[in-house]
């Protein structure tokens, strides 16, 4: 178990190194000039140059990179100009919001996508199959920003069913005492049902937006995987043994078919974390995606670097979790490991 962890982390190191270098170069190439920003609105060109010198921005790139690495080694990700906060604190505070949103979105996608994939696989090339395919493809074809806007317009503005798109809680509630940072969990831990329903209501539309987008990969993967499992020998054997339809589809076929789907989930999740930057923007969701967008547009590069680092680490961690999940489901991997 620890061996696997260590091997995995070692394998991820070159990737992380690549991410650090690329991010550093990319952010230095951003058009903004922190010196001009810090120098204030009425500064002369000389004043800006002076501040540039003080900030060390006149140093050769490799010296700046050295400084950056040294700071990174101390866990110092710098300060955000936009929020005025240390990037680490910002990310620590916003990550749970993104994670909660993305996970719920994924749950919605899996909740619909898996049954859709199964239904399609049970009757390939029937109208059910075609319908599932069209729905899933339509979902992934909708730009998330467009879906989000439409949902807000219809369900909040027109129908009034959804609460105002004001972030994780309505303005008059306070967040539950922080344990996990996931409001749904924290509010339940605190026994605060009102906050729980409030948080769930706020989550509904943005999570649905993400869910619609992630539906296709999950439904497709389930369908394909289900089709290949359904045509495999042991399903035929199970039928020959007269097992009931439910037992065959769920206990025999689906459990096997989910193995490759679990692997896909990792990809989908990392894909969603990227896709949710626009969703967060639309729903005023205080996650790290909207944080990164704002920072990038403002050429505020400490948050951009911090965000990318956080995502890269998350990506590695995610793959590790997927491996572990795979082990939990598949005895073959478990015993070999």
């Amino acid at each position: 178990m620890f061996g696997l962890l260590a091997r995995r982390l070692a394998a991820a190191l070159p990737t992380l190194a690549g991410v650090i270098v690329v991010t550093f170069l990319m952010t230095r190439a951003l058009p903004g000039d922190p010196a001009a920003y810090f120098a204030g609105p009425a500064a002369t060109r000389e004043a800006v140059e002076e501040i540039r010198r003080q900030l060390g921005l006149d140093q050769p790139l490799w010296v700046q990179f050295g400084d950056y690495l040294a700071d990174l080694a101390r866990g110092d990700l710098g300060l955000s100009i936009t929020t005025g906060q240390p990037v680490l604190a910002d990310i620590a505070q916003r990550l749970p919001a993104s994670a909660e949103l993305t996970l719920i979105g994924l749950l919605i996608a899996a909740g619909f996508g898996v049954p859709m994939g199964v239904a399609a696989a049970l009757r390939p090339n029937s109208w059910v199959d075609h319908l599932c395919r069209v729905i899933a493809t339509a979902g992934v074809s909708l730009p998330t920003f467009f879906t989000g806007l439409l949902l807000v317009y219809v369900f909040y503005y027109q129908l009034g069913w959804a609460p105002a798109p004001l972030g994780r809680l309505d303005a008059f509630s306070s967040p539950p005492p922080q344990v996990t940072g996931f409001y749904l969990i924290d509010s339940l831990l605190a026994g605060d049902i009102e906050t729980f329903t409030g948080a769930a209501a706020q989550l509904a539309l943005p999570a649905l937006t993400l869910g619609i987008f992630a539906l296709a990969p999950i439904a497709r993967m389930t369908r394909g995987s289900m089709l290949s499992v359904l045509s495999s020998d042991f399903i035929r054997a199970a039928r020959a043994a007269g097992l009931s339809g439910n037992t065959i589809v769920i206990r025999y076929a689906l459990r096997n078919a989910l193995l490759p789907v679990v692997t896909t989930l990792g990809m989908v999740l990392s894909f969603l974390l990227g896709a949710n930057v626009l969703v967060e923007k639309v729903f005023a969701w205080p996650g790290i995606g909207s944080y990164a967008i704002e920072a990038l547009i403002a050429s505020d590069y400490a948050p951009v670097q911090g965000f990318v680092m956080a995502m890269a680490i998350l990506y590695v961690a995610l793959n590790l979790v997927i491996d572990l999940a795979y082990q939990a489901i598949d005895p073959r991997v478990r015993i070999e490991a």
Binding site: P14, T15, L16, G18, V19, V22, T23, L25, M26, T27, A29, L30, P31, N125, H130, R133, V134, T137, A138, V140, S141, L142, P143, T144, F145, F146, L149, L150, Y153, Y157, A216, R220, M221, R223, G224, S225, L227, S270, F271, L273, G274, A275, V277, L278, K281, G289, A292, I293, L296, I297, S299, V304, F307, V308, M311, A312, Y315, V316
Partner: protein, 286 residues
């Protein structure tokens, strides 16, 4: 089997796939429509897509099918004319990554060794980024131009191509005809380019159709946040972004129609990709 029989077989196979999957036929039809719109669109539209007028924010009518935007420009004309740009950008990006990604992947899969390791590292590093944010960062860093949007879109799609091509080349590495070509004295490069590559191409063509949709979404997403396209150029993403502010005040048509066009285009390419995969590689249908 004779050549004509083989050709007949392919046609028959395509016919079979289409009859089994009417949705694919529909996607081919839509694709034709999109391409025609991209080619002929600018000469067909009733209004200059860039000309403002006093008839601002007019609702859809017989005169303005999709209404007009905040500057009185005809939304229908803009949506139609934008087809060429949106498809063009996505196509350029996909063409770029098709060439580079396929070559890199084939080299990695066929040669193995350090080539494989380098390509693997590059793809891993790209994959570790949240792709949309990487694209944003690249465009912001390289400069806010259409060309850079295309490069950024190509870069974030690189891992998909490199990985698929790598797998396919790797499978074929030990194939009989490769051995035969090698024994016949062909150089490694020649074997790779003339034996492996042509065999990998059909599968990569399927990827083209599948990633076209993603490329369109990506370029539109970038222009949604103000990167890439310069006003007053008509482009679907930026039109949705501009129209977004008008939805709440009831002028839904400004965002809705470009949004629908965007969706339709992506939808077409995704469905077509599925269909092409059926034709090229029936076993892999998912």
């Amino acid at each position: 089997m004779s050549a004509s029989a083989a050709a007949g077989g392919t046609v028959g196979h395509i016919r079979h796939v289409l009859s089994e999957n009417p949705v694919t036929g529909l996607s081919f039809g839509l694709f034709g429509l999109l391409v025609l719109t991209a080619i002929l669109g600018p000469s067909l539209v009733p209004y200059d897509p860039l000309a403002s007028s006093d008839a601002a924010l007019a609702a859809p009518s017989a005169k303005h099918w999709f209404g007009t935007d905040n500057l009185g420009r005809d939304v229908f004309a803009r949506v139609v004319v934008a087809t060429r740009l949106d498809l063009g950008m996505a196509f350029a990006a996909v063409a770029l990554v098709f060439v580079t990604g396929t070559l890199a992947g084939v080299a990695a899969g066929f040669l193995g060794g350090w080539t494989d390791r380098i390509v693997g590292r590059v793809t891993d590093t790209i994959m570790a980024f949240p792709l949309f944010v990487l694209a944003m960062g690249l465009v912001a860093a390289l400069g806010n131009t259409i060309a850079n949007v295309i490069y950024a879109t190509a870069i974030i799609n690189f891992p998909i191509y490199a990985r698929v091509a790598r797998t396919e080349a790797n499978i074929r590495r030990e194939a009989g005809y490769i051995e035969a070509a090698r024994l016949a004295g062909a150089s490694t490069l020649a074997v790779m380019l003339f034996e492996v590559l042509p065999n990998v191409l059909p599968i990569m063509m399927v990827q083209v159709s599948l990633t076209m949709g993603y490329a369109i979404l990506n370029t539109a997403g970038l222009s949604f946040i103000g990167l890439g396209i310069r006003p007053p150029t008509a482009e679907w993403g930026i039109m949705v972004a501009e129209g977004a502010g008008y939805i709440v005040s009831g002028e839904w048509w400004i965002a809705l129609f470009p949004g629908l066009a965007l969706m339709l285009a992506v939808f077409t390419f995704n469905l077509m990709g599925d269909g092409l995969r059926d034709i090229v590689d029936p076993r892999r249908r998912t």
